[in-house]
Amino acid sequence: MFDRLVGIIGNYVDVEPENIHPESRFMEDLGFTSFDFMSMLGELEDELDVEIDEQEAVNIRTVQEAADYLEKLASEE
């Protein structure tokens, strides 16, 4: 899941894949806007065929947290 996220992050911000780490924070470290972040999750929702809860999504800060959350949703499907 982490690698999948690294792949899609590049569509939103200009960061080299080697500079994306599990502890990287979307807004503070990677330069995401809140709407970039929501749109990226929306894209993943389709790709993974899961339903993301917007209220839960706003609490995600790091790439690892996003990977864990998506992993959990995918396993529940």
């Binding site: 569509n11 503070e28 709407f35 970039d36």
Partner: protein, 502 residues
């Protein structure tokens, strides 16, 4: 067709567009449902009757929730019964929402169940509140009444004619001193703002409402203007799914804030190796043609970028105090460095560089805040707090800001003092300055080094980050602080001992 009350807009639309779809929304993935103009008017009138039955006509009715059909019915039913609607930001912390309900003298609170946390404490906190109405409950209980049950019982028409100059809506906006202010808007303020300019937008245009409904820009331009044009107003169910919903609802037009336009630009550029026409079809669909931008400054480069794909961006400028549009660009006369032409119901002048406006959309004042009102309104002129001027053909040009407010890219106004006061309560924070930096809210803190010594704190940035993290946990998304700077020296002060901001 210019209307001077919100009821006139709804009656006109129901007569002209009758059984045509007015509001369209998703009920589950890829499945939509619609309500017609006739239904919207009928349900709104039923809600007016509900208020009459409860003995609450003419009182203040607060409504909170994501944009939804019940929200809209509540709004129209309230204002068209001679009552005053108080739309509240659904993301506010519960205590803050209760404070606004109390301060606005609300007697009925209509809420989406996502804010049942507020419903649980609001009666205790707000002694003037009499009724709670849940938008989702199928049957009422001890805690709250059911919106749908009440509506069903009060079927039938309600033909009250509100006066143009009577108060209809109180909208809260960030104050520069940290306390939000209730902007009092009349029927005329809102109805004329939405209908005084013929923007040559075709009737039955399909639009998607993506902005928060408690904002004047969304309520006036998506909803009131949309209804006056017989638009099919589609409701976006989540910010996660804007791109998907644009295609699902087969849109013609959308209102956005710059933050969203920037993300959509990335989506267009992602596929830029393909011919522009194909990219546009993929991202927005063939029938899409216009984006209206407002709420914050938009870099004019985006106007050119979207034009490449056959999409027109119309930029506007306004503030809640002006219901809210002051100027807008029209598709046949775009000047990229301007925020558009003054609306026909608005005049403007520059006073010491500050833009002052006057006209039928200017608010009555701030609710129960005479001092703030006197400061903002002078002889009928509204001091915008923005630096700018009006040029040839009534085009408005902005050059800076006089008032101390952070306008985020999603159009939210944030008072730095509010955040500074909250964080300043922490023992570790001696001095703090909050500002915007590269699109995010940043806090610069001078810690209390005596306290650091006393408590033997080793990792000062780490401890301060914890303070910020604690604050962020309960702050609405647009008030979260994403950048921290730690100072080793005190801030430079003005002669009155205030921190120098610039």
């Amino acid at each position: 067709m210019q209307c001077s009350t919100i009821r006139e807009i709804l009656v006109y639309a129901a007569e002209k567009f009758g059984d045509g779809d007015a509001i369209r929304y998703k009920v589950k993935k890829d499945v939509t449902e619609s309500k017609s103009y006739t239904q919207l008017k009928a349900d709104s009138e039923s809600f007016s009757k509900v208020l009459e039955e409860l003995g609450e006509n003419g009182h203040h009715i607060a409504v909170t929730g994501m944009t939804s059909y019940p929200w809209l019915v509540t709004y129209f039913g309230t204002v068209n019964s001679g009552s005053v609607a108080v739309p509240l930001d659904v993301s506010l912390p519960a205590e803050e929402m209760c404070e606004l309900i109390d301060r606005a003298d609300v007697t009925v609170f209509v809420f989406d169940e996502i804010r049942k946390d507020v419903a649980a404490i609001v009666k205790e906190r707000c002694p003037k509140l009499k009724y709670l109405i849940s938008m989702q409950k199928e049957t009422g209980d001890e805690e709250s009444l059911s919106f749908w049950e009440l509506l069903k019982k009060q079927d039938g028409s309600y033909a009250f004619m509100p006066q143009p100059d009577s108060l209809c809506t109180i909208m809260f906006t960030s104050g520069t001193t940290g306390k939000s202010k209730g902007v009092m808007l009349t029927h005329r303020n809102m109805a004329e703002n939405a209908t005084c300019l013929d923007m040559k937008i075709a009737e039955r245009t399909v639009i998607l409402s993506v902005l928060p409904i408690h904002h004047a820009y969304c309520l006036s331009m998506d909803i009131l203007k949309g209804i006056s044009l017989g638009s099919i107003i589609c409701i976006n169910d989540s910010l996660l799914r804007v791109a998907k919903n644009i295609k699902l609802f087969k849109l013609n037009m959308i209102l956005m804030v710059p933050l969203m336009i920037e993300t959509m630009a990335k989506k267009l550029e992602e596929a830029s190796l393909l011919p522009p026409k194909i990219v546009k079809h993929q991202v927005f669909g063939e029938q899409f043609h216009t984006i209206c931008s407002g709420g914050a400054y938009l870099n004019p480069a985006y106007i050119d970028l979207f034009a490449k794909y056959g999409i027109t961006i119309l930029q506007g400028y306004g503030m809640t105090e002006c219901a809210p549009v002051i100027s807008t660009t029209i598709s046949w006369d775009i000047r990229k460095d301007s925020v558009g032409q003054l609306l026909p119901n608005c005049e403007a002048k520059s006073v010491d560089g500050e833009l002052w406006v006057r006209g039928s959309s200017v608010m009555q004042g701030y609710y129960k805040m005479p001092e703030e009102t006197a400061e903002a309104l002078q002889d009928g002129w509204l001091r915008t707090g923005d630096l700018g001027y009006v040029g040839e053909d009534n085009f408005v040009y902005l050059t800076g800001r006089k008032k101390n407010l952070i306008i985020t890219k999603n159009g939210e106004n944030v008072s730095p003092e509010e955040l500074e006061n909250k964080l300043g309560e922490q023992r570790l924070v001696q001095e703090i300055l909050v500002r915007e930096n590269e699109g995010v809210i940043e806090a610069e803190i001078f810690p209390d080094y005596d306290y650091v010594k006393k408590k033997r704190i080793k990792d000062i940035p780490g401890e301060l980050q914890k303070v910020i993290d604690d604050y962020n946990k309960t702050a609405p998304a647009y008030k979260k602080i994403y950048s921290l700077k730690v100072r080793e020296t005190e801030f430079e002060k003005t002669p009155s001992k205030k921190i120098k901001r610039y």
